[in-house]
Symmetry: C2
Subunit: 402 residues, 2 copies
């Protein structure tokens, strides 16, 4: 491969140009030579030659519908090319603490199959088996064989450094990140990353132009994926975005998440019998005092629930204030399964931020991705790696040796 900062030969130039056209194909799926000419500045002869190469390599196909698909056009009909979006596949896995979710997508990012299972245990071996099972299940559903997979991207609830490793010394992290590459050694390359980081990548892909923001997973514990100046922050050991610092922030108190606290505070109020008799929360058995129940009651006007929501909103505002004032992010996206239910909390927090900051006040909003953020981020991570270095993957075609 290339040494760093290295000079190049004509062959390498060809490789660069093949890559440029392939990138265009990945973005456009079906395209004409003229479009590539406009996008790259290359001559028609050159572009057609590059397309020939890509056809030979199995990345694109020539299709015959140049005229039918397009609007009316005079002159000789143009060849039309189409990305072979089944030339390879990307597998995305959210290996959460209690559940594993897997999805398989084609090269355009279209999800072909998706599944979720609970994991019975937190031990590494159990998690490895569960992840492999989920992946085998989606591959079977989508009729994809492991050798057709370009890339497996796994999200885990632990800090992960640039090499996919979690810091030593914490058994929990090693259990959460128990060496997935070995599990998927027949499925192309495997990448492991932190779940909040992947969720942030998903948001980045869905918010064009938003280049500095934080994605705050906020269910049981706070954890942030930080994107500043268009880049995801990792830090020395992958610990960027860990929220232990909240222990020493006034008004934030701890890194426990919104879901956890809503439940705890409701249960505490119930035990302390401070809930007014008329409160909706008082009607529920303690086992059903979930965060969602609290938020729903608050939305219904219940004063006790509203009190909890207000406290949570102030706490969330503190968290957002920290991130915004240290990193100058323009938006904090509250993500995770409870994000949408927590809209009342977010509204309260946004009001607090309005007081804290001079305009322009940073945005605070719930993610629209719900519980799928991590899986979608894993997919996005894989797609962006594909876009960055498409030629480092080899298209799979039945009957053709790789």
């Amino acid at each position: 491969m290339l040494r760093e900062d290295v000079a190049t030969s004509p062959q390498l130039l060809r490789r660069m140009n093949v890559g440029a056209v392939l990138r265009y194909a990945l973005a456009a799926q079906t395209f004409l030579a003229s479009e590539v000419m406009a996008a790259t500045g290359l001559t028609r002869s050159t572009v057609l030659g590059l397309c020939d190469t890509l056809v030979a390599q199995g990345w694109i196909d020539e299709v015959a519908d140049s005229r039918e698909a397009g609007q009316y056009s005079k002159g000789r009909p143009a060849r039309r090319y189409r990305l072979r979006d089944r030339a390879g596949y990307i597998v995305a896995v959210d290996a959460g603490q209690h559940t594993v979710t897997a999805a398989v997508a084609d090269l355009r990012g279209t999800i072909l199959a998706r599944t979720g299972h609970t994991i019975d245990g937190v031990q590494g071996p159990v998690r490895r088996t569960a992840a492999r099972g989920a992946v085998d299940s989606v591959l079977a559903h989508a009729d994809v064989r492991p050798e057709e997979v370009f890339l497996v991207v796994v999200g885990v609830p632990a800090p992960v450094d640039g090499q996919g490793h979690s810091p030593a010394g914490h058994d929990y992290w090693q259990h959460m990140n128990p060496g997935f590459p070995a599990v998927f050694d027949d499925c192309g390359r495997t990448m492991v990353d932190n779940d909040a980081n992947l969720a942030a990548l998903a948001e980045h892909a869905r918010n064009p132009g938003l280049d500095s923001f934080a994605t705050l997973l906020s269910g049981e514990r706070f954890g942030a994926g930080l994107v500043v100046d268009g880049r995801l922050l990792r830090g020395r050991h992958g610990g960027a975005g860990e929220m232990r610092l909240l222990d020493i922030v006034q008004g934030a108190g701890s890194s426990e998440g919104l879901g956890f606290l809503a439940r705890e505070w409701a249960v505490a109020a119930s035990k302390a019998r401070t809930l007014p008799p008329g409160s909706a929360l008082a009607q529920l058995p303690r086992a059903q005092l979930s965060a969602e129940a609290v938020f729903a009651a608050a939305a219904g006007g219940d004063a006790a629930a509203q009190g909890i929501v207000d406290r949570l909103g102030e706490r969330l505002a503190r968290v957002a204030q920290i991130l915004v004032s240290l990193l100058d992010v323009e938006k904090v996206i509250v993500a995770g399964a409870i994000a949408q239910a927590a809209q009342p909390v977010i509204d309260k927090a946004a009001a607090v931020l309005d007081d804290v900051f001079q305009p322009p006040v940073p945005e605070l909003a719930a993610s629209t991705l719900g519980a799928d953020g991590v899986v979608l981020g894993a997919l996005e991570c894989g797609l962006s790696m594909l876009r960055d270095e498409p030629l480092s993957f080899a298209p799979f075609r039945p009957g053709v040796a790789r």
Copy 2:
């Protein structure tokens, strides 16, 4: 110029290779074709052709001392090339609140002249005039004319975004960053950046392998330059590293810096007459109760001064804790003019960090650059821009039209 993601022609390939050799020259100053061959993988013919180009453009010279300088060697003596380190110049300016410092360096980064002045006032026009005066002074000392300058890099005590602008709405920031490019319009390109950011770049250049760290300017106010994963963070409006968040951190209290607080607390103790009669601080008139005096007294064993140092150390530890735990930086470098004097404070803070963190404990250390950090960082900023895009500059040679 190039469209993004664009394909290339043979001419552009040549340009890339010329750039690669020039980068080598900038790093090596004097070199042989064989070395470039080894570094780039190119043929001798090609490398010599590229060197011819660079000679013609005025970037390098052929020098005759191939044998003399080198160790014994058999065979035909190799041509030796040398960077024309006076093909252009880089001007670095630290436009601080009270003082302006300027330096001019050649392409190798060797400083040719340096000067410092106090600024009489905080108004934009005054600062512009002072900066221009300082630059004219160093240029005259180094016998450099403005048109020979490639790049002027100015550090200011205000947030600065990627375009060199400071956020509107704060008059102070506009005064600090009053449109320097117009002042240096005869000196090549002008770049403006935040002072702490530049100090961080200086540290980055001097600590190879250190890729995630914070540089904490800590004199009158805390301000951090954040480098994570090898990149300087800016944020949406250039506000990354602003330390206003300390207002809500327990034990940190405010964003006032070590120098400010040491002085304030010593004066307060003096006014409250709580200094023991034997204390070295009690001997001093209040106007001389500087931070340096407090640190010196503490080093000399004075108990009252030691008390102040301990309080400062705990506060500094909090600041470092915040940065480390949110960004996973491996080191916090205390910079600014008082950094070295503040060693007792740093020692105290390091001891606190030892308790707070599990191993590996993040490092905390004083910068070795003293008050020059910002100027050196501005120079480093210019050099790295030169290294990234050398061919975007045109060498200056007397008698040759540009």
